[in-house]
């Protein structure tokens, strides 16, 4: 598998001379680079571990809990706080469930004695 040219990225970001970037542009930059990283990393995953790959990606995609925590966090009551609470519960099921089931699967993969 070809190596990702990480070195080439080092000099790239934020060379603009004092002009503030649109957050969307920053987001797209991060997004595109992350897709490339994902592409190369995932092709390196051995097919034997594709099920754990699925459960672990499922667990980490629940990082949207970050958005849920912010919604559930304010002191005063609001409809958003309820939405946040529901999302925290849903994401927590995934985070705990995803990591635990991955752990269970990986613990079973043993080498020949």
């Amino acid at each position: 598998m070809t190596e990702f040219p990480f070195g080439a990225l080092a000099g790239m970001p934020l060379l603009s001379a004092g002009v503030p970037l649109d957050p969307f542009v920053v987001g797209v930059t991060v997004f595109v680079l992350a897709v490339f990283v994902g592409y190369y990393v995932v092709w390196n995953v051995t097919p034997a571990l594709h099920s754990p790959l699925m459960s672990v990606t499922n667990a980490i995609s629940s990082v949207i809990i970050v958005g849920a925590l912010i919604a559930a966090g304010p002191a005063e009551m609001h409809i958003s706080k309820i939405f946040g609470f529901i999302a925290v519960v849903l994401a927590a099921v995934n985070i705990f469930g995803g990591f635990v089931v991955t752990q269970r699967m990986l613990a079973m993969f043993k080498k020949k004695k």
């Binding site: 987001g27 459960s55 990606t57 995609s61 970050v66």
Partner: protein
Amino acid sequence: MTDNLAALCYLAASVCFILALRGLSSPVTARRGNAFGITGMTLAIATTLASPGVLAFEFILAGLAIGGSIGTVLARKIKMTALPQLIAAFHSLVGLAAVFVAAAAFYTPEAYGIGSPGAIRAASLVEMGLGTAIGAVTFTGSIVAFGKLQGLVTSNPLVFPGQHAINATLGALLVAAIIYLCLNQSPGVFWFVVAISLVLGVLMIVPIGGADMPVVISMLNSYSGWAACGIGFTLTNNLLIVTGALVGSSGAILSYVMCKGMNRSFVSVILGGFGGETAGPGQAAGDRTVKTGGADDAAFIMRNAGSIIVIPGYGFAVAQAQHALREMCAILKAQGVKVRYAIHPVAGRMPGHMNVLLAEAKVAYDEVFELEDINREFAQTDVAFVIGANDVVNPAAKTDSASPIFGMPVLDAEDARTVLFCKRSLASGYAGVDNPLFYRDNTMMLFGDAKKMCENIVKALG
């Protein structure tokens, strides 16, 4: 915690997630990878809890406790054969969580610094609309996939006239609704977007048959990632964007691998209608005869073999035959027979499912080989033991250009000196195609339940 410090912590969490996936390149490093994943998640949650906007913790702690205990119990209790259903159910939760986070951002945009109610930045609304739509599609789509995998609804493709036209119309309506949402910012339109997406999710998955489930579940995995990405853009949170992109590309790659394993194009899978109870191309099976045998014959052949390659399929998992099979192989190995396992990319109901089931039965992973690594070995092998698999050893995929599975990569089981084919009947497989391997001179059919057969062979060997 300052914004800069928080951003750096999120960056560290992103790196942890990348390392979590990187660890899966080998079973040796995989457990460390999972630890990285847990570290990253803990860091992400702790950073968010330390942010200035989070002041009240009752809801958060209650949510974490409720969700965490449900998730942990589910993950500990689930049978490994039911893993695909569990994953589908988990995907649906990510999708629904994305919808609720988007709703929260829609009602209190100031908490996320993207405007005020009724005056949210247009770019954020587009991203929010997309995140919501993908999340809602993932939610209902995964529920349908769960129902099909769990057997709650038929796994046959459900097709009706005008299906694609309806989906296309709904898709266009969805785009229009998101545009309208940007213009008028009313809650009604927001929930309209959610509603259309929920319906679209159902309609997208119902026409897809059971045989294509590995693709569907990978695809939904991918969607759950893109939903997280959409929310990340809305909240301008790089951690969510990075993680969503990682998960999204991971699911897309798995979908591609699964499609290639079946020689199907992604588009034809999405359009659906493949597999199920449709009759295969009607070759008259009347005058062809099969050789049948029992456990004693199989035991005799295997005991006198020098090498065996086991080809397990989903039927073997359904019969819960893992442990009986391993016991059988242990006896054979003790008698000096070389035993290996060959796994087809689409064996089982999700990518890598069969590897997990074998690992659960304590089969060492270095005895388990992928199709391209073992296919040339069949010619030098005495016995190919096909158990609960069918389409993945169908030689018609190589020779019969009229076959629906023509071009699909298959395991060359027929090259082995003897093929022992353990199966309940001569019925066709998931793809609804007859298998010429049944009728070959070097094939012996072992009719019966996979688990019973293995147990009987164990008795005959002992």
